[in-house]
């Protein structure tokens, strides 16, 4: 068996050793501070009583010397997760946290639970969690509460009581993102026409909220727009391409496509190119703000992109520092997502992730 392992290693080394990919496309490297998150609903506003260290019931500690745990939910295979993990790591280094422990649940919820339990067992004083699910956290929360470990959840909420079970949630408002995408779509098609939706993975709250936000806004603002097609592209580029190919075959009069993430939008672009369409023939609006998508705006294929900012590091540690310093923290810290369109895409390319 060990011979097989050695052979496998040898193959891997050979394969990786003489590999030579294409030259990377020239794009400005993002400056370290670029694209930083901005708080939309700041600490201590009307979101209920602010959470202080006193109310939470813990004791102050020095962030720099403490063990801090970060639990990532999905494999760092898409730009969002890559940027998210990198941001946490970079900011921890910048703040001077020497003992940051990072785990990755590889999209398995049971693994994420064990990951976090182990972080607690290893003596983590602060936990930053990107939850895979919103429910099922009770056992972990109890363990953390027993040790008075504050938890900051990022990008997805967990269903529990803020300031009791966890400290706060920092993230985007997906419903709001959907609404803003609708505004952009209304602008793009001039308030009337036929629009298709490339839905995200079924049964995912991101999909639900981005869909509802979009539909509600269209109904309210532009009754002239009919949503004549909605099919899942499962947040994947290839699926987005295949569904769009079918779509433009059977609905050649479609005016706009709303893609619930950038990958599906880029798949749609490939499909349009393959069908001989020109940039701008069909208006595409999507959500995320990856570098490739912003580049596609510059090239004219995408109309606009609503950002979903993954760089949680600075805000997370700033919030933690404030909390430890005795300040009150709101139960939700909603970040303000930017948007990219023809006006700012070229200049913002360096800030996209």
């Amino acid at each position: 068996m060990s011979r097989t392992a050695i052979l496998a290693m040898a193959v891997l080394v050979t394969v990786a050793g003489c590999a030579k990919g294409e030259e990377p496309q020239t794009a400005a490297a993002p400056s370290s501070t670029a694209g930083q998150q901005v708080v939309k609903t700041p600490t201590g506003t009307a979101e209920g009583p602010a959470c202080t260290l006193e109310r939470f019931g813990g004791a102050a500690f020095d962030l720099k010397s403490a063990t801090v745990g970060f639990s990532q939910s999905e494999k760092e295979a898409n730009p969002f997760r890559i940027a998210e993990t990198k941001s946490i790591k970079d900011e921890a280094a910048k703040v001077g946290i020497t003992n940051l422990k990072v785990t990755n649940a590889q999209s398995q919820f049971s693994k994420q639970i064990t990951d976090v339990e182990q972080l607690i067992a290893q003596g983590a004083k602060l936990l930053v969690i990107a939850p895979l699910n919103s429910d099922g956290w009770e056992p972990v929360l109890q363990q953390a509460a027993a040790k008075k470990v504050p938890i900051i959840t990022v990008d997805r909420k967990i269903n529990a009581k803020a300031c009791t079970d966890y400290l706060t949630f920092i993230g985007s408002d997906f419903y709001e993102q959907g609404k803003r995408a609708a505004d952009k779509m209304i602008e793009a098609v001039g308030g009337k026409g036929k629009v298709a939706i490339l839905l995200g993975a079924p049964g995912n709250n991101v999909t639900t909220e981005r869909t509802n936000g979009f539909k509600d806004r269209v109904k309210e603002k532009a009754p002239g727009i009919t949503i004549s097609f909605e099919q899942t592209g499962e947040f994947a580029r290839e699926k987005g391409q295949q569904v769009t190919e079918q779509l433009i075959q059977s609905n050649p009069d479609i005016n706009g496509i709303y893609a619930e993430n950038d990958e599906m939008a880029l798949g749609a672009v490939t499909a349009l190119k393959g069908a001989g369409k020109q940039p701008g023939d069909i208006k595409i609006v999507s959500i995320d703000g990856t570098r490739s998508a912003v580049q596609a705006i510059v090239d004219g294929w995408l109309h606009s992109v609503i950002e979903s900012n993954p760089r949680f590091g600075p805000l997370a540690f700033e919030t933690a520092a404030k909390f430890l310093g005795g300040e009150g923290i709101a139960e939700k810290v909603i970040i303000s997502d930017r948007e990219y369109d023809q006006a700012n895409a070229k200049d913002s390319l360096g800030e996209a992730y």
């Binding site: 193959v11 891997l12 394969v15 990786a16 590999a19 030579k20 990919g21 294409e22 030259e23 496309q25 494999k75 760092e76 295979a77 898409n78 730009p79 890559i82 079924p202 004549s228 097609f229 909605e230 099919q231 899942t232 499962e234 994947a236 580029r237 290839e238 699926k239 391409q241 295949q242 569904v243 190919e245 079918q246 779509l247 075959q249 059977s250 050649p252 990958e263 880029l266 798949g267 490939t270 393959g274 069908a275 490739s292």
Partner: protein, 305 residues
Amino acid sequence: MTRWIRDYGVYAAVLALLVFNVLFTPYFLDAANFRTQLVQVSPIVIISLGMALVIGTKGIDLSVGSVMALAAALTALYLGYGAAVALVVALIGGAVAGAAGGTLVAYVGIQPIVATLALLVGVRGLANVLVPQLVEFRNPDLIALGSSSLFGVPLIVIIAAALTLVVAFLVRRTTFGRQVVAIGGNRAASELSGLPVKRVLVLVYVISGLLAALAGVLATARLQASDPTSLGMFIELSAITAVVVGGTPLSGGRIRVASTVMGALLMQLLSATLIKHNLPQSWTQMVQAVIILAAVYVTRERVKR
């Protein structure tokens, strides 16, 4: 009657769906529409051909989706040397993965479903290690492989059609093909008859790996991006479905090449029909389930007899 359904049912079902679409689906008769359906089904057809050979030996190859991903990863890694080199390296990768599965099955004696399940997990992991995130490319040769046409017929479709003829010839007219079917029909008898059982088994999995890798390169060329994380996810199920719906029994000893292609087409048309009529994907899955059960039922009749 069940015999007729088993032999021609898939053709009848494809015909019925075509008629339905011609009547009720706008723009269905466009040449561009047929091109779209054929292009989309081509990678599945190519994989199903290998799957049909493997199932003919009473085996199964769950690793094909991961091998596609590996091929996508290797393509991205070696594209710097040109599209041809990248293609060759990807095919070698697929052949090696297939040889590993075949060796586990034939020489180590591990059940095909277990051996290829291990590869499903391991090869996907390897692909992700090699290329952790989606890589876009601009190599004109590779893009041409995915998007160019010959006399109006997309290159991908021509490749799939040619491979169908090759595999049909392999099954019907070569010693190897006859031996594959015999081994699936009765392995002990084949061994006593002096057939090179183990070698044939390994070769069958190598062919399946090669075809899966080719499908991976073609899908990658079409997407103009290498995406080992999600490329080929669950495609093994589509391929097995195509084979079974085509009337090839999972119990081995029989390979129906043309019907397998029809099985793949049926599933493609079905999913296209529901998408075009804007019905949710869950419907597609439910109808697919019914068709699979029906196919398994009619092939079961044969086994009982």
